[in-house]
């Protein structure tokens, strides 16, 4: 499984191929961290940054924030709050779904209910 550092580095480097503003220095400045820190993150020498910085990085790299957070070993705070509000319900739901194939999970939809009128 690709590490967080390797993943963001590959993503950044791919963007840098066509856009020189995606150097470590410039991306670091835009998300508000030291370039040396970002470089260490990419080399897996330090732990991934905070949720806020991971989300900023996701936006910079046009990556899905939830995916990047998961790779960083985090869950977004709004998802966490949703789970904490009804922990038994969501724990049970995730356990039921965790082994289903992708297409089965994707078929779970929430329909708009039509009533009597």
């Amino acid at each position: 499984m690709t590490s967080f550092g390797d993943y963001i580095r590959a993503s950044r480097e791919a963007l840098k191929q066509s856009d020189t503003t995606f150097s470590v220095r410039q991306v670091a400045m835009r998300i508000g961290v030291e370039p040396s820190f970002l470089s260490k993150v990419e080399r897996n020498e330090v732990a991934p940054p905070s949720e806020e910085k991971v989300v900023s990085l996701a936006r910079e790299l046009s990556e899905d924030p939830d995916v990047l957070l998961a790779m960083a070993g985090k869950v977004s705070s709004d998802l966490k709050a949703a789970i904490m509000k009804r922990p038994e319900l969501f724990a049970s739901l995730i356990r039921e779904l965790k082994d289903l194939p992708d297409r089965a999970v994707l078929r779970l939809v929430r329909e708009v209910r039509d009533g009597k009128w």
């Binding site: 939809v109 929430r110 708009v112 209910r113 039509d114 009533g115 009597k116 009128w117």
Partner: protein, 340 residues
Amino acid sequence: MIELKRNELVFSFPEVHEEANMHVHFQRTLRIPDDDGTYPLPAGLGKFPVRHVDDYSDDVPDDWMQHGGVMLPMYQSEALWLNFSGSGQYPFALKVAAGKIDAVTGHSWSNGLNRGPQDYVVVPEQPWLDGYCVKKGIIRQFVAMPLGSGYSVEEQVTGEAEFGGIQVIAYPMRREIYEERFRHQPDMIMSPGTLFGAPAAVQSRVTGEFSMGLGAGGCMKQQIYNDPYDFSDWDVEHSSRCFVHIANSLAWRAITGDTPPTTPLTAREYKKHGIPWFDYYSEGDTAVPGSGVLGKIKSIARRGKEKGDVPLPENEPIQPKRVVKLRRNLRRGQVREGSF
């Protein structure tokens, strides 16, 4: 089946065809003056937020829970339009009503499709709907007013303030007809365009006083296109419908805890920001004639005069300066919500 995704009602009929999908969302817009003028189309200023009523079962009125569906917030005398232009090419017949009064014919709601007169629009040929069809090529803008205040078209037509809100029901084209007519044409999936960033706008068990209906505002040039297909092309065995409740801004805050979008733009602000108007035209297409019922309804300003009210603030005439002409089939649906 209808899902709510990113404030859009997404209609899909996988049992009919895997491409039978349509998106409907509700756009904030400028309320055009309710005067003797006829105006071009104002721009979209962003989607209204939409929520499942079921998510607020403890806080919405009982009749909303009975109806099911969704809800969105509107300020009093705010306008809206329905956008269908984010859909693909799969044809749908879509009925739209406000307070269960059909917006094309003025007839009371029924679940089926009718022609003679046609009581539905055809999507994607019809990219949007801004109001009630009062005359051929002219609509009166959908403008939110408190239900029970006497301004909604529902109250004028039925004498009752019972439902409010907006109701929609969609019928897909029959699979075999679609395959025959369209199978070899490229897919014309439209992007809904980007949004214009408009400058920035209880207790549990809110009562029905917080429900809004739609009155008839100013006149706008808009055609409701005749159905170009055979009536038998529609799959009347498959339909999905939805009740869209309209909560006023106070009710929205009380129910959801969220602040509604910023207060609507005034005409002055619209002009100041250089936001264009739009003239959408199609060559060769025919439009439904106006509704005899809707042609007789009183606009909000006129009802206000009768009641001695001033229901529409800032109702001075506007001179639209920048009118962008949109020809049908030329990047349909994108520019009206485009970035400025």
